[in-house]
Structure formats: structure tokens, C-alpha cells
């Protein structure tokens, strides 16, 4: 299982990660971040294959994909 970490101080809510996620695992959140934008959220974690395209395409270094096992190990 993978998880994504969003730095909400850096995310501009451009939604490029959501648009280009090949498995449509992400969605634009309804809530606002402290910067006043809608950040992405991993709504279908079971679909995320860890390809990390979202991370590579984010213009703002705001999204990091991690393997859950590693984070909690």
C-alpha cells in the first residue's frame, strides 16, 4: 500500500497530480488548505500503484509518495 504526503504550505491546488494520475486514485479535496486552495487527496488508496507520476509532475515539490510499510516500519 502506498500513501501520499502533501505539504500544504507548498501545494497550489493546480490539480495536475489529479489530472495525470493514471489510476485515478486521487481527487481534489472539497476542503481548503491553510493557503486557501483545494489540495489533492488519495481517495482510492487501493488503486494507487506507486508509479509516482503525481510526484514527478508536481511543479511545486508538494507531493511525496511513500510505501506505507516503510513509513511505519
Amino acid at each position: 500500500m502506498h500513501t501520499i504526503q502533501i505539504d500544504e504550505g507548498w501545494c497550489k491546488g493546480c490539480a495536475l497530480c489529479v489530472i495525470y494520475c493514471p489510476t485515478r486514485a486521487l481527487q481534489v479535496a472539497a476542503r481548503f488548505s491553510p493557503r486557501g486552495v483545494h489540495p489533492p487527496e488519495l481517495v482510492r488508496p487501493e488503486r494507487c500503484n506507486g508509479c509516482r507520476l503525481c510526484e514527478l509532475l508536481c511543479p511545486d515539490f508538494a507531493i511525496t509518495v511513500t510505501e506505507e510499510g516503510r513509513v511505519h516500519a
Binding site: Q5, E55, P59, T64
Partner: protein, 286 residues
């Protein structure tokens, strides 16, 4: 992802290379300039560059803001003059790696003459030229690269000038490495920037970069998804382009009009300014 690329995370890139206090960037939503920065950092990490021995140089423009985000020495020079400053650094201290960020206006408009002569001399610098078809920072005037018919604040009835093909120019001048990629897919730009840094002599990587604010807005490409899609739909790989030109049907050839060729256009060796300077010093016992 290209084979052989080491996995890096955005979190690692941020910690290792960025001036975190400068973030978030000044760039608009949907601007591709952050991607140019991201891919450059991947390439730098790939090559294993020592940032303490690397200097980033730029002129003026949105694209020329890029060195300010990297935790290394940099020069934010005057408009159009990035290559003159870069040449000076290389000539004075050939041990330094010099990477230039410039725009289509900065590098090919006002700085076009420096581009010619820096390539002609074959200075050993890597130039990442961001082509967004416009002068973004000053609100969207036409640039030498504005497409045929493109709307800008100075071409309200559509551009009537023939756009400059920067890569063709660099090729003709004998630049050892010339490539063009859109920012919309990461792997090829990362590989090309790394190749450009490793190349002895002048390397030009032209990055086709969406500017929804100053260019897109006037050309029916205001929405982020739409302008990013435009770059996927209007770029054709060199091999495919040549195949269509040679064997394609008239309709297929017609479909190339208004599109941009992408790929590595030149990858050769040529004596550099430094090589010739060292030979001169030895010959004349200077």
C-alpha cells in the same frame, strides 16, 4: 521512467537542493517552470554534480527566476545577458560547472546575439531555455518564438512573423548537444538535461513550457488541463516526424503543420573554447 534513473522523492530533492525559505515559488498555477526545476534537480542528482562547484546563471523573466530556488551560487544577471556572464565564469574558472536558465525572450530575443556567439565559441555551458512562446513576466508580449497566428498583447490580430526555431539555429551553429522536450512528460527531459550537463561543450535543452497566464489566456488555452493537453497533442517525436515527411500520406503531412518536432537533434563532439585556449597558451608559451 527512463531505465537507470535512481529513485528520488520530492521530499529528498527539497532537503538536498532547494532554498526552502524561497517557497512556494512565484509561478502561476499550471505554469511548467516548477517542472523545469524539478527535472533539472533529478538530472543533477543523476550526474552527481557537486553543487559547491556549480553556478547557475540567468537573465530576466519568469524562467530566469529559477536559480533563486536552488541552494547553490547563482547569478541573476541583466536581461538577455545570461550567456555573456556564463561565458565569463567558464573562461575565468573552467573547474566550475555552469548551468544557464533562460527564456525564449531572454535567450533568443534580446539575448539572441549572445546565443549565436556562445555556441560559435563552443563554451562549455548547459543552457536550459524555457520556451513558453511569450514574454511571460511582462504580461505576454510576442516573442521570436510566438507561433504563426498566435495572439499576444503586441499581436492582437495574430502574429504575422515566422517563428524562430531555436534548435535548428543551434544545430546550424554546430552546438554539440541540442534537444527539445515539452515539460508534460518527465523522463526525456531528465535524461536530456543529464546528457547536456555531461556533454563537453555547449548544450542546449529547449523546454516547451505552458504559460496559461500570459500566453494561454489569449489563445484559448487558459485552463490548466487544456494547455497541458495542447503540448501532448502538438508535439511529434523526431523519428515519427521524419517518417511522416518521407512516407506519410498528404493528410498525415498536412497534420504536421502547427506542430513542434521534439527529440535530441544533435549529439556530437567539437573542440571547445577551453581546448583551443589551452592549445594557444601552450603554443605561445603564455
Amino acid at each position: 521512467m527512463a531505465t537507470g534513473l535512481k529513485i528520488k522523492t520530492a521530499a529528498e530533492l527539497r532537503t538536498n537542493y532547494l532554498r526552502r525559505e524561497m517557497f512556494p515559488t512565484i509561478f502561476c498555477d499550471g505554469c511548467g517552470l516548477g517542472n523545469v526545476l524539478n527535472y533539472t534537480l533529478w538530472a543533477i542528482d543523476e550526474v552527481g554534480l557537486d553543487l559547491d562547484r556549480t553556478v547557475f546563471v540567468s537573465g530576466i523573466g519568469c524562467s530566469s527566476r529559477l536559480p533563486g530556488y536552488i541552494n547553490a551560487d547563482g547569478l541573476h544577471a541583466t536581461h538577455g545577458r545570461a550567456l555573456a556572464f556564463a561565458s565569463g565564469i567558464r573562461a575565468a574558472n573552467p573547474d566550475l560547472t555552469v548551468i544557464v536558465f533562460t527564456g525564449d525572450g531572454d535567450g533568443a530575443g534580446i539575448g539572441g546575439n549572445h546565443l549565436l556567439h556562445t555556441i560559435r565559441r563552443n563554451m562549455d555551458v548547459t543552457v536550459i531555455l524555457v520556451n513558453n512562446f511569450t514574454y511571460g513576466m511582462t504580461g505576454g508580449q510576442s516573442a521570436p518564438t510566438t507561433p504563426d497566428g498566435g495572439f499576444s498583447s503586441t499581436t492582437p490580430y495574430g502574429n504575422i512573423e515566422h517563428p524562430l526555431d531555436i534548435c535548428e539555429l543551434a544545430k546550424a551553429l554546430g552546438a554539440p548537444y541540442v534537444a527539445r522536450w515539452p515539460v508534460v512528460s518527465p523522463a526525456q527531459p531528465v535524461k536530456s538535461i543529464a546528457e547536456g550537463i555531461r556533454k563537453r561543450g555547449f548544450a542546449l535543452i529547449e523546454m516547451l513550457t505552458p504559460c496559461p497566464t500570459a500566453y494561454g489566456r489569449r489563445n484559448g488555452l487558459k485552463e490548466i488541463e487544456q494547455i497541458w493537453r495542447w503540448y501532448r497533442e502538438h508535439t511529434v517525436l523526431l523519428d515519427e516526424w521524419e517518417w511522416v515527411e518521407q512516407f506519410g500520406s498528404p493528410e498525415e503531412r498536412e497534420a504536421l503543420r502547427g506542430k513542434l518536432k521534439i527529440g535530441v537533434f544533435q549529439d556530437t563532439e567539437r573542440e571547445t573554447f577551453e581546448d583551443r585556449w589551452a592549445a594557444l597558451v601552450a603554443r605561445e608559451k603564455l
